[in-house]
Symmetry: C2
């Protein structure tokens, strides 16, 4: 059929022709993967490793709320609530308090990228993997890194820290409150004051301890504190908590160089978290749904109260320690005051391969426990009682599983 084309149908015709041509040159080289045809399903686990922990039911529900824009007022409200929740958890009034869009390591990088400039002297307490990581990141960004090294199981006394400060005159000291690879609880009273006498800032990792052990950022003079979402808070991994004292903030705002990272630039993060008084602008898209979850996790902590949570973790850990000892197992950390309530380390029992025990407990009971990490690898088994997982019932379950494992795993293999 022949007919006169109007200019607009000519135009449409050209578009369709273009589209057909485009399609022909767009044949797929890579076929749709078979593995993605079925739906996702995940088995149910009791996660009693050093984290991630199980997600609390109320937090799970938040995980399937529909998206809103990160630039809506409603989202700003949620972010403000998260800020207040972090201030409560950290016991701080710092205005520069926010959640980082990444895991615990992203928070550590946010701290180091923003606080250190190339050439800055930086002192690190290394008594397990976290100090190693904190030192490595410092090296990557060109700081002069000084390590105080201890075997896993140890912590740093005020005197040792003072010697390090006097010798190296660092601008920043890194300590880990809950050394989850060794199970050590680093005392923190007096360290901030000491650092400040030496014009040094104090950076503390509380990823594995926050909510399970007392911490008082302001009273203890901690300048930068960070933590994770996937431990005591029982939220999914993907966000982390961080706060900066006025001293830390001053150092950041007086930098001569820009931080290497734009994504983790605290001046930008301060803006999107409403910490700098300026109108919020677009920086990056934060993980909106993970922030819903974090908000609910913080609300649960407010509901229980920090003191109750600390008490529950301590009591449950003491119960676990007693039951482990009753099984004839040795706790890895000798001094009871230095035992981390959230993550308990047990010396690998003589004659066993730790891998056998871990596999037995996982395969027969769907309970996760783990071996060591970094310097503690091969030395310990680790059992975490984190947040809603810190119950006597869970202790009974894991003790039963361990008992069975010790009976059935090969002995004398090593």
């Amino acid at each position: 059929m022949l007919r006169v084309l109007t200019s607009s149908s000519v135009f449409l015709g050209l578009q369709v022709a273009g589209w057909v041509r485009t399609m022909a040159s767009h044949q797929l080289l890579v076929a749709p993967p078979e593995a993605l045809h079925g739906p996702l399903s995940v088995r149910s686990w009791l996660l009693l490793g050093p984290g991630p922990s199980n997600v609390a039911p109320r937090v799970l529900e938040a995980g399937r709320l529909q998206m809103i824009s990160h630039l809506h007022k409603e989202m700003y409200q949620i972010m403000d609530e998260i800020k207040q929740g972090i201030q409560y958890m950290f016991q701080t009034r710092n205005s520069l308090t926010l959640a980082v869009s990444g895991s615990g390591h992203a928070a550590l990088e946010a701290a180091l990228f923003n606080l250190l400039e190339p050439g800055d002297a930086y002192l690190v307490g290394v008594n397990g993997i976290w100090g190693q990581r904190a030192a490595e990141i410092g090296e990557r960004i060109g700081a002069r890194v000084h390590q105080m090294i201890k075997d896993p199981g140890g912590c740093f006394t005020l005197q040792e820290v003072e010697e390090g400060l006097a010798q190296h005159r660092p601008v920043l000291l890194f300590l880990t409150q809950g050394e989850s690879s060794s199970g050590v609880l680093q005392p923190l009273d007096g360290y901030g004051e000491l650092c400040h006498r030496y014009q040094c800032l104090l950076l503390v990792d509380s990823v594995a301890s926050l909510g399970g052990v007392p911490i008082h950022m302001d009273r203890q003079g901690i300048d930068v504190l960070y933590s994770g979402s996937q431990k005591v808070l029982n939220a999914p991994p993907g966000t982390s908590l961080i706060s900066f004292s006025d001293k830390a903030k001053s150092k950041i705002y007086a930098r001569k160089t820009r931080p290497f990272s734009f994504y983790l630039d605290v001046k930008w993060l301060a803006n999107i978290w409403g910490c700098d008084g300026a109108p919020r602008t677009y920086h990056h898209t934060p993980p909106v749904v993970s922030l819903y979850c974090l908000r609910e996790a913080l609300a649960l902590m407010v509901e229980e109260g920090l003191e109750s949570s600390w008490k529950r973790h301590r009591e449950t850990a003491l119960y676990l320690q007693g039951r482990l000892q009753a099984l004839g197992l040795q706790l890895f950390v000798k001094d009871p005051e230095l035992r981390l309530p959230t993550i308990t380390t047990v010396a690998v029992p003589a004659g066993y391969d730790w891998r056998d025990i871990v596999s037995y407990v996982m395969d027969h009971f769907a309970i996760e426990i783990t071996g060591g990490l970094g310097p503690s690898t091969g030395k310990v088994l680790r059992i975490g009682l984190l947040g809603c997982n810190a119950t006597r019932e869970n202790v009974d379950r894991v003790i039963h599983a361990l008992q069975e494992a010790l009976q059935h795993c090969p002995k004398g293999k090593l």
Copy 2:
């Protein structure tokens, strides 16, 4: 009652005394925030801005699945499926393909941190905000950045790129396929080949275009391609997709310096994503639940098929363009072939304040549309039809809302 204490009850007594003492010094300075007493609720929005988009129902369900450990075999399986899904989306057979634990900007930093060393010459096509950001990050890490600058609305021809390559001899060129701030679709055929003739690698941002517009990483000779989860894929923000060609991989593995970031070090990420053949070890905790969501989003794309998705986005965008023009509005991108199907830019109608229109549509219809961003601010309105939101019904809804806005918003104010 007096009785002889056994040594273990003495010990317990000391522990309790210690606990009481500890508690006394641990009084809370910061009270639980009022705002966290109520439960979270979010209003329902139709997100027709440039992203994030609404989350697809099946993806929402994945968001409340219980955690598993990131170091379990089941998680490795999910990660392998994600890898295959990305290879399909990108149309690549690159083994170094993975999801980054952060937003689109984190993927961009992963690309630049790993590909560039201080002093490397780096050429950036800047025709909107994304080139500006890519240039800024290059500067932060000490690359010699050369910008080819265009007004928003333009894209880069092969000839222009060749001039830049010949003049600056860069090791890397950055281009944005879907310039979401201006609504421009950058053609990509021939650019990879051209770059390779000049010993330059090609890095492409497909955050706003992937799944909505054809892309063929291998066939087009793209060396590094990245995208986001929260646009056409309809997953929550918090993860991003990236892949490296063998040429890009060689450059990374031949670096003289370590990348500044440990969190985004591709050698480590290659390991945890099973891309390097070595046993997987712990690097950081990836966002497990966000990865469930990404897996389901990729599965939905496999179900629909890439070609159908491209076609649906194109057809819906053409329908939107027609309806906008019928309202008397001007499309910002003049050449129909250069219009991005996923995000349509409309010139702000004369006499109106763009803020009034955006607010009207949001307040009266709970539909998100936005103004411009970076260099396009004040010039455009942006309407996104991303993934499951790309339907004629949604076009009708937003057109109706715009029509009302144009009737009721003050005119002649500017």
